[in-house]
């Protein structure tokens, strides 16, 4: 079963604009991770935020985590056509062994040149 849900399901923006994707989850977590997937291929790890962190940055990525609302957001600034991909959040539930990731349903991002 899916732990999380991403919102929106699909997003289309122009190059240079910012893209924001949201993720909601159901259970307590150790950490939340964001992955990118190009055209149904392998997943690329983008960023990890632990349950005791509220915000994290990596290059053009900014992730926030609100454990009281069980939600996270991923912001991609100054988007590029190469950012076109599906983006998934994945949670590592508390109480289990590490790395049993539970993925959301994904957001399909299209960046128009």
């Amino acid at each position: 079963s899916q732990q999380g849900e991403e919102d929106p399901q699909a997003l289309s923006i122009q190059e240079g604009e910012n893209a924001t994707m949201n993720c909601s989850y159901k259970t307590s977590i150790n950490n939340l991770q964001w992955y990118r997937q190009n055209s149904g291929r392998g997943l690329v790890h983008l960023i990890l935020i632990r349950s005791n962190e509220r915000e994290k940055h990596s290059g053009r990525l900014r992730v926030t985590l609100d454990t009281s609302k069980k939600s996270s957001s991923l912001l991609i600034t100054a988007s590029r056509a190469a950012d076109t991909a599906s983006y998934f959040c994945a949670t590592d539930p508390r109480g289990g062994a590490t790395n049993k990731l539970i993925f959301g349903t994904g957001t399909l991002l299209a960046v128009q040149p």
Binding site: L43, L48, F88, N99, K100, L101, G104, T105, G106
Partner: protein, 112 residues
Amino acid sequence: DAGVTQSPTHLIKTRGQQVTLRCSPKSGHDTVSWYQQALGQGPQFIFQYYEEEERQRGNFPDRFSGHQFPNYSSELNVNALLLGDSALYLCASSLVLEETQYFGPGTRLLVL
């Protein structure tokens, strides 16, 4: 430094057949996890192997089994294939106490 590799890249089987998928983890990694991703969905956790044993399992039937070898590589076996087993099968490797997993390119299985 080789990343996670999977073979084959594509596979076509018929209902009732059996299939074996293979995964070589990233150099230095000791833990392998398998995920199934149906079209348009997020990956779902199948099971994880560490020290040649199944460490934890997701909600998949016993038709799905696996193995980890002493060199940390792993196999996923699926028996009595169903049409619904058609999916992208992803392997991910990590170190047992580390949080970040590295995914392979996947094996796309089509069951006819």
